[in-house]
Amino acid sequence: MPSASSRPTVRPVVFVDGVRTPFGRARPDGLYAHTRADDLAVRTVRELLRRHPQLPPERVDEVAIAATTQSGDQGLTLGRTVGVLAGLPRSVPGFAIDRMCAGAMTAVTTTAGAIGFGAQDVALAGGVEHMGRHPMGLDADPNPRFASERLVGADALAMGRTAENLHDRYPALTRERADAYGVTSQARFAAALAAGRITADLVPVATRDPERGWGLATADEPPRPGTTLDAVRGLPTPFRAGGRVTAATSAPLTDGAASCLLAAEDTAEELGLAPRMRMVTFAYAGVDPAVMGLGPVPATRKALDRAGLTIDDIGLLEVNEAFAVQVLAFLDDLGIADDDPRVNPDGGAIAVGHPLASSGVRLMTQLARHFAARPDVRYGLTTMCVGLGQGGTVIWENPHHRDYDGLAPATSATPTTAQEQQR
């Protein structure tokens, strides 16, 4: 007699932990100028496994690693190569994934979908972008129909120009507001760094420079602490003569990687993996590619609808700062003030950088850290815009909140060794 298959199940998915490399400037003299992209991703995977020795590596069901440019040291199916290079058992599969800036976010939601569906129990999800080795759009070959049939505007493939387009569309989004937002992002990041809220999420990376020898990357390179309004007011507008978007209101070109560990809540309990966040739901949505920065608006509305929540239920927001104007457009739509403390309380990509396909997990890791410090907040979200007109949003629940009914989060313990202190 043939046996009946077990049916798909729906079960909660938890974010166990997330780490990232320090971010480097994508320049010939940048932190990672001589470091491979895949090696950056390997460091994050190794660190996650090291921080969670109770997870038997063979229990990892999937390694999903995103990159926008999947060639060279970001080619060859990153999820698989990174798994092998990180020393995971050969039995652990992996794949590469791409949704441009939302690559890591998509790695998370895709593997979370498989976990919730019951097809997998544990996944590693993340992304990497070495923009120094893989400049945006290099080797891209856009279909001529985009232009000939006016499927997208001529500006749609140049991100800075889409940001200028947002200023055009919403005159209320002034350069002054954008400048102020950028300065705040730098200041908030500097304060968070000084308060010790950034370093704990970093995995140090050994970097070799043929002229200087081996060094160790332990801190982000892009931030410009002490940036003042006076200093940014006169900056040029590289994307348009007489435009409004400047280097101080754009995320810098960045090299870096981030990864996280996801698990079914029941598997986490079985293995003793404490959750830092529980996924509520997620959504992606498309917008006109010429104003791709608007993407988070419909994505967030869609996600809130699905979750049965309103924006008032969301106590913390991690919004990727590709451009200040794009964050402001999002905030205006939701009726949130430019300097609302719920939004990017520790600064964002304008300060720390935006290595495209890895930023989604950087947002999540940062939100998870806020959650631990803010048990009063029940829900938070991570959201980002995506090139060619998309947005993605993931809503998360704080396990430290008193109404949380799932697996309990970890309580803090005193680290003893340097390895533990790194956390």
Binding site: W214, G215, L216, T218, A418, Q422
Partner: protein, 714 residues
């Protein structure tokens, strides 16, 4: 000090030494985790890719010393918590750059190099902060001594080449190795690394073994080796990790270990080489000596050995067998070689089976064997299966690889099975008429461009091919037994051999992982001609009344891999006599027949006793004296006389071989003897020793190599 993996880089004879490949010491500060302070991280980098190992020469050492002096001062000022040294990818350092060493003519230069190494490395033990070696890759000789100079050592789990190969080449670990190692890991283990492993064909030590030996303190995974070494450092500094150190061995243990090592050395070398003994003396003194005294003693020994002919011959031989062997002398242009997509072998006996497995394994092409009847075919197949199963059982090949090899080998009685082969090797009985017939039959079957090769060890290849329509496609491919292990192939060229066939033979030898030496079609080629000359001289002495036990040990001062009777036993007495007979016929009385050995063969007797299973060296069985009669008549040679006869005979033979053009130059004889007969590096193979001992001058009236090529120029 020392020894690069490739003194290979030493100057080729007659050329000026290439300039030092200077390794730079690059220093960067790293903040240790957990607020443990600043680590000064030194990277050794020669600025070249992984094909050019990092080595340490005078300029590189001077730069490293300067960097370390700066760090010593910073440590004294309290600016540093630790100092660490690591390397560019794949290498920490592959030892001393011996380029200059090979041509040094002034002992003061040698002493300066020895002292500079100490002056540099000792700084790592004389800082106000702990020092760490992050052994990220190959660490040989001076590279490993650099690590030994540090307080602590981590090693990447991927590292397989840790060694102190100095005594292998003719030096000692004299940049602190002989002093520091026994005090760190204990005298017994130190001797294993300094003396035993170099003697065991320069065996390397892996990361895991190194941890077990106490040579390193932690093995860390390669994926984030440097990062985790830094974390490890912070934990050691903070006292979270305590690295245990064994107390110094007591005097009795020390002396017993040294005495034991000396016994083992004597049993193997009988005092034939200086370097291992000098290393042993340094280790013996290391227990009670202070650092200054011990390092000064190392300087003395290094100076002496750098200025020794033994080392120069060792460097010459190492270069010959590594770097220079990659481009065989006198080989036709590689492009002329016929692509070999399938191989035929005539015969399915022991040798044929070994050849088939080697070809299937390395060339990865189909191999067809042919023998005369079903019984031999079955036996051949069974033999091949046993060989392959044996390799799989030992883990040398995977089960899949074993399946692939077996599936690619076919054995039949049909000569036409060989019709599609691009190369056919005959490995049938050593009878000229048989081999001639095989080639004649093959010529009617194989394709026009197919190359025909013979594995004969003593017959004339020219005669074998004399009656063929296309003698230009016949060459000799002389493999040595056991085929899988012996690294040499003699490629035999007849006056009729075409460049295409010869180029194919060289290409196949290379693809099989062998080193090829091109030789002319003269009896015994190189290796058998000289080995048999040696054996013939010994046999003649014994026939002339020298006791077998005296003759057997007479050659010990040369440090050959085994005594003459053990060699006969290894080859097999009947085989040895067959070759001797053949050489006697072709070359005359220089190869006298031995009635005594003939009788032993007829009676089926061994010349050395059965192995005792304990690996003891096998001397001649004194019982065989009976076939040679009562020893000691007047005029019988003593041991020294036998040695003299052998060396004079070898010198004469080498002179004749060069006159006959068996090889183009004397170094090719050395290459063949080192790889084909296992003759030692400190002799430089053979001809450097004949030069430095005066035999070539005495017997031939000339040197075989120019002064300075493989000795200290005088």
């Amino acid at each position: 000090m020392t020894t690069t993996a490739r003194p290979a880089d030493a100057a080729a004879p007659g050329q000026a030494a290439r300039p030092e490949r200077v390794t730079r010491a690059l220093v960067r500060d790293v903040e240790l985790p957990g607020g443990a302070g600043t680590l000064a991280l030194v990277t050794l980098d020669n600025g070249l890719d992984h094909t050019k190992p990092t080595t340490l020469g005078p300029a590189g050492l001077a730069g490293l010393r300067e960097a370390l002096l700066g760090l010593q001062a910073r440590a004294a000022r309290g600016e540093l918590a630790a100092v660490a040294v690591t390397g560019k990818p794949v290498y920490l350092a592959a030892g001393a750059d011996l380029t200059a060493t090979a041509t040094m003519t002034d002992a003061r230069d040698a002493r300066a190099l020895a002292e500079l190494g100490h002056a540099t490395f000792r700084l790592l033990g004389e800082m106000d902060v702990p020092t760490f070696a992050y052994v990220n890759g190959v660490a040989l000789g001076g590279g490993l001594e650099l690590a030994l100079g540090c307080t602590y050592r981590t090693v990447s789990a991927a590292v397989t080449a840790l060694a102190l190969p100095e005594t292998f080449l003719g030096l000692v670990p004299g940049w602190g190795g002989c002093y520091l190692l026994p005090r760190l890991v204990g005298v017994q283990r130190a001797l294993e690394l300094i003396v035993t492993r170099p003697l065991a064909n320069n065996r390397m030590t892996t990361a895991a073994e190194a941890l077990e030996l106490g040579l390193v303190d932690a093995v860390l995974e390669p994926a984030d080796f440097l990062e985790q070494s830094i974390v490890w450092t912070a934990d050691v500094l903070a006292g979270h990790l305590v690295v245990p150190r064994a107390p110094l061995d007591d005097e009795a243990t020390w002396d017993a270990a040294v005495a034991g090592a000396r016994r083992r050395l004597d049993a193997r070398l009988h005092g034939a080489r200086q370097a291992p003994y000098r290393a042993l003396e340094l280790v013996a003194a290391a227990r009670t000596a202070d650092r200054d005294t011990a390092f000064a003693a190392e300087d003395d020994v290094l100076t002496e050995l750098i200025m020794s002919d033994e080392l120069r011959a060792g460097l010459y031989a190492f270069d010959l067998t590594t770097r220079r062997a990659r481009k065989p002398a006198g080989a036709p242009a590689e492009e002329l070689a016929v692509p070999v997509r399938s191989v035929g072998i005539v015969g399915a006996g022991l040798m044929a089976g070994q050849l088939a497995v080697l070809v299937a394994r390395r060339l990865r092409v189909p191999v067809a064997l042919r023998d005369l009847d079903d019984e031999r075919v079955a036996a051949g197949l069974a033999g091949i299966r046993t060989l392959v199963d044996g390799m799989a059982a030992k883990g040398r090949i995977s089960p899949s690889e074993a399946n692939r090899i077996l599936a690619s080998v076919t054995v039949s009685t049909d000569l036409h099975a060989l019709a599609g082969a691009d190369l056919v090797v005959e490995a049938v009985t050593e009878v000229l008429a048989v081999k001639q017939r095989v080639f004649a039959e093959l010529e009617d079957v194989v394709a026009e461009r197919a190359v025909l090769a013979t594995n004969t060890s003593a017959l004339s290849v020219a005669q074998m091919s004399a009656h063929l329509r296309h003698p230009e496609r016949v060459v000799g491919l002389h493999f040595f037994n056991p085929v899988a292990q012996m690294p040499l192939v003699e490629v035999v060229r007849t006056p009729a051999s075409g460049d295409e066939a010869v180029a194919t033979a060289f290409a196949v030898a290379k693809a099989l992982g062998k080193t090829a030496v091109g030789v002319a079609d003269r009896p015994g080629f190189v290796v058998n001609r000289l080995l048999l000359r040696m054996l013939a001289e010994v046999a003649a002495a014994v026939e002339g009344g020298t006791p077998v036990t005296v003759a057997d040990v007479a050659l010990r001062p040369l440090g050959l891999p085994m005594g003459p009777f053990a060699l006969i036993q290894l080859v097999g007495l009947p085989v040895a006599l067959h070759v001797l007979g053949s050489l006697h016929e072709d070359l005359g009385d220089r190869y006298p027949l031995s009635p005594g050995l003939d009788r032993l063969a007829r009676e089926g007797r061994r010349v050395v006793p059965e192995p005792d299973g304990r690996g003891a060296e096998h001397g001649v069985d004194p019982a065989i004296q009976d076939v040679f009669g009562e020893p000691g008549p007047p005029g019988a040679l003593d041991g020294a006389g036998v040695l003299d006869a052998v060396l004079a005979g070898l010198t004469e033979e080498v002179g004749l071989m060069l006159d006959e053009g068996v090889v183009g130059s004397a170094d090719q004889i050395d290459l063949a003897m080192i790889l084909g007969a296992g003759w030692p590096l400190h002799l430089g193979g053979l001809t450097p020793y004949l030069d430095r001992s005066g035999y070539s001058q005495r017997v031939l009236g000339r040197r075989l190599l120019a002064p300075g090529v493989a000795d200290v120029p005088r």
